[in-house]
């Protein structure tokens, strides 16, 4: 440890202003602070500070995604083999999954972090840790067979257009990971929807439709069982099939207080309410499915736990979060059932509410302002 510290201290002068590599100051800082929590002490205000920082926050979110990632790796292999009519052992499935998933993760991180570092350097500030999370979210919402160049393009689009043009971390309006997926969804629809993409190297004869795909053609009979949808042994995006694994992640986020339970519950509430309303209407087979099934199909659970709770693109006030979450769940189910062109309503619903989140906050804050003005008037009168 001492050796490492001495080495860094020796290199540091080259990277600060006036040094040989001053252009790489942010990069150096990122690596240094990755290894060591800085020795900076408080200069103004409170003399003591909480031990939490952005790195701690982000690493916990990444940890929360690990169950979904591990399950996803296994499931990619599992789906591949059963579609080809084989029933291999555990390890071949994992190895196959790893070969499919790891490259996607690597591409996402390399492209995204590369751009983040470049922007941090050109703006002369520290590298924000937000992409540690986005970089993991992006692979998890990709279909297993997605071409790597698409991941690269989508990641670049998400980081540049979704985040940096707004001023970087903390300023973006849309969730960057969802921006990446939406970009691919609209730019390369044939690679991002339909029956062919959800199983890696699928045999042509095998159906391969996701539950949402089945329902889209009002084929409720071929739906997988609730149990397999909950466990996640179904075709789908890499990390979003297993509701169980996602719940494990949710427990981590809520227990540590980093993910907003308020948002998660209100999304679920919104989805259930819309599901029930459709049950009452009952015009077709899709409307008739039990409301709870909406929660375990497609990206609903994943979006609820990992996407809707992104603090930057969500509502920032506590009351706003309730409205924001409820509408996400509500609209997600609405889009699913009503709009055959967009089977995955969750992604669009969250992006839509990302756009409306500031408006929701504005109204919540205005009611506080009005209360204050009223009080002032009562005093004057």
């Amino acid at each position: 440890m001492k050796l490492l510290r001495d080495f860094i201290d020796k290199q540091k002068p080259h990277f600060v202003k006036g040094g040989k590599f001053e252009k790489l100051e942010s990069t150096f800082d990122a690596f240094e602070t990755f290894l060591f929590v800085p020795d900076k002490v408080t200069q103004s205000g409170a003399h003591i500070r909480d031990a939490i920082d952005m790195k701690r926050t982000m690493i916990i979110v990444v940890l929360a995604m690990i169950p979904a990632l591990l399950f996803g790796i296994w499931n990619v292999g599992y789906q591949h083999f059963i579609s080809n009519g084989m029933a291999p052992d555990f390890w071949p499935m994992v190895v196959f999954g790893l070969l499919k998933v790891l490259p996607v993760i690597v591409v996402s991180y390399v492209v995204g972090l590369g751009i983040e570092f470049a922007f941090a350097q050109s703006r002369g500030h520290e590298v924000n840790e937000g992409f540690l999370v986005s970089g993991m979210l992006i692979p998890l919402v990709m279909p297993p067979d997605v071409p790597l160049w698409m991941v690269a393009v989508a990641t670049a689009f998400a980081v540049i257009i979704g985040k940096e043009v707004f001023g970087g971390t903390g300023m973006n309006i849309l969730n960057p990971a969802l921006t990446a997926r939406a970009f691919l969804f609209f730019a390369y629809p044939s690679e991002m929807s339909g029956d062919k993409v959800w199983i890696a190297e699928k045999a042509d004869a095998f159906s391969g439709a996701t539950p949402l795909g089945h329902l889209l053609v009002l084929d409720a009979d071929n739906m997988p069982s609730d149990w397999s949808m909950f466990l996640g042994t179904i075709p789908g995006s890499i990390g979003e099939t297993s509701t169980l694994a996602i719940i494990l992640g949710a427990i981590v986020l809520v227990a540590t207080g980093i993910g907003s339970l308020r948002i998660m519950l209100s999304v679920i509430g919104g989805g259930l309410v819309m599901g029930w309303l459709f049950n009452l209407w009952g015009a077709n087979a899709y409307m008739d499915i039990p409301a709870y099934q909406h929660l375990i199909m497609g990206g609903f659970a994943f979006g609820t736990v990992f996407m809707a709770t992104d603090p930057v693109s969500a509502s920032q006030t506590n009351r706003g979060k309730l409205i924001y979450g409820f509408l996400i769940g509500f609209i997600a189910v609405l889009i699913r059932v009503f709009n055959p062109a967009y089977p995955e309503g969750m992604m669009l619903s969250i992006l839509l509410m990302n756009v409306f989140a500031p408006l929701i906050d504005y109204n919540v804050v205005q009611s506080n302002i009005k209360k204050r003005l009223k009080r002032a008037k009562a005093v004057l009168a």
């Binding site: 409170a46 003399h47 500070r49 300023m171 920032q316 506590n318 906050d361 209360k371 009080r375």
Partner: protein, 449 residues
């Protein structure tokens, strides 16, 4: 005691180094009045180096409000007028002669005086600066008619001195001080006590005041929180506030006719070997206090508490308004993978460190930031420790973009930088929030004047 106001949002930070309840004498002949302790005051000197002063001798006046005098707390010789960059006046150092001479302002019963006579006596003796106003936390303007006067009798900040203990046996001075304050406002004088711990009869049997009880974690003892719960400030309104020992000083002025700057202060913090209470006078040098009584690690001396206090040097002096000296270790060390390890000994309000499982653990906290400065990303954090009906994050952002109208609408008149101290402590982005709030208040004051 009528109803108890329960404060639910907040945080008690438990630290090592609480003062033991014994009062010792702090022996020193070095004192200083620091003009930088007073917000928005432009000092004009009335004495020069070498002048002899008594307790109550004016040292300087505020250039823009020249009725407000700042007087010496002890008798002795002006040793040094210390200035900093741009000739800003840092301190007027006085060497005490031990004679304890004081100007006689005449002992009088304040209940029998007019408001003007009370104000005049408070100003000429130099105790007026104890009375501050909200908004802005500046020294009160004698010609204002405050809506009410607030006195918080308990301090809920980490390691804060116990006022119950401090005022023990001084009921007469306290009541006399209250009598004087009652002359200053047509509204009420609110005496706010801790529902659970305040037991001193000095407080509970005070006459002429309205006693309000509060319970809950810090910042329940902050006067700003209490004002907000009892009678929130509206635009254009002014309330005054002061603290129990200030009331005692005012009381003694009327009882004895002298400016008696005696204070009981708490010496606290993990690096103090024998933390205890000390009897001293305003502006005392701290070196004799801590010599031989602190550990050998690199330390930070804080006049006040760890949330809102000011860093001072070992050869520094206690600030005018502070009744506490805190000594904690500096945090200038690197920590390998500190953000990734479990961190059983780390203090955190969030549950991302396992320490949340040990609710009553006391911490030895240092001054490390525990991370780098980042964008404001997390939401919903500040609301957990901010018991106002105000949106803290939105107000902070309004201040950052200097949107005067929005700041006003979001309630900047009701807050002070100390009310945001906990937000600053728990902030993931490591933003210096109190600095921002102060900037906002200064901007507001400039705009409104």
């Amino acid at each position: 005691m009528s109803t108890v106001t329960k404060i639910k949002k907040g945080l008690d930070i438990k630290m090592i180094g609480e003062a033991e309840k014994t009062i010792k004498d702090h022996v020193t002949d070095q004192f200083a009045i620091k003009p930088i302790d007073f917000i928005g005051v432009f000092p004009k000197m009335l004495v020069k180096e070498g002048d002899l002063v008594k307790a109550g001798t004016p040292l300087y006046v505020d250039k823009y409000r020249d009725n407000i005098l700042f007087t010496s707390s002890v008798s002795g010789k002006v040793k040094e007028v210390k200035r900093g960059p741009k000739r800003i006046l840092l301190a007027i150092k006085i060497e005490a002669d031990g004679k304890e001479e004081a100007i006689d302002f005449k002992a009088e019963n304040p209940a029998k005086l007019s408001r003007d006579a009370v104000v005049k006596k408070l100003i000429e003796s130099g105790v007026w600066p104890f009375i501050r106003q909200r908004p802005y936390s500046i020294i009160a303007n004698p010609s204002d008619k405050p809506k009410a006067i607030f006195i918080s009798t308990f301090d809920s900040a980490p390691l804060a001195p116990d006022n119950d203990f401090i005022v023990h046996g001084q009921g007469e001075a306290f009541q006399t001080g209250i009598d004087a304050l009652l002359k200053l406002t047509e509204g009420k004088v609110h005496l706010n006590v801790d529902a659970d711990s305040t037991s001193s009869k000095v407080f509970t049997q005070t006459k002429g005041v309205e006693i309000n009880a509060f319970s809950g974690p810090h910042p329940s003892g902050n006067v700003g929180v209490q004002i907000n719960k009892i009678s929130p400030l509206n635009k254009g309104e002014v309330v005054w506030y002061l603290y129990p020992q200030d009331v005692l000083t005012i009381g003694r002025l009327f009882l004895t006719g002298k400016f008696d700057a005696t204070r009981i202060i708490a010496l606290t913090g993990s690096e103090v070997m024998r933390p205890a209470y000390y009897k001293t006078k305003i502006g005392a040098a701290i070196e004799p206090l801590v010599k031989g009584n602190v550990t050998t690690v690199e330390k930070r001396y804080i006049s006040g508490n760890v949330l809102t206090g000011k860093q001072i040097d070992l050869d520094g002096y206690l600030s005018f308004y502070h009744n506490q000296l805190t000594v904690i270790p500096e945090g200038n060390y690197f920590e390998l993978f500190g953000w990734a390890l479990p961190g059983f000994n780390k203090f955190s309000m969030s549950r991302s460190y396992p320490s949340f499982l040990f609710k009553n653990k006391k911490y030895r906290l240092d001054t490390n930031y525990h991370g780098g400065h980042r964008a404001l990303v997390m939401t919903g954090e500040f609301e957990k420790v901010f018991p106002f009906d105000i949106y803290p994050l939105q107000l902070i952002k309004a201040i950052m973009v200097e949107d005067i109208d929005l700041m006003e609408n979001l309630g900047i008149y009701e807050v002070d930088e100390e009310d945001f101290a906990l937000c600053e402590v728990i902030d993931t982005s490591k933003t210096n929030i109190q600095e921002i709030v102060r900037k906002g208040l200064d901007l507001m004051r400039k705009e409104m004047s």
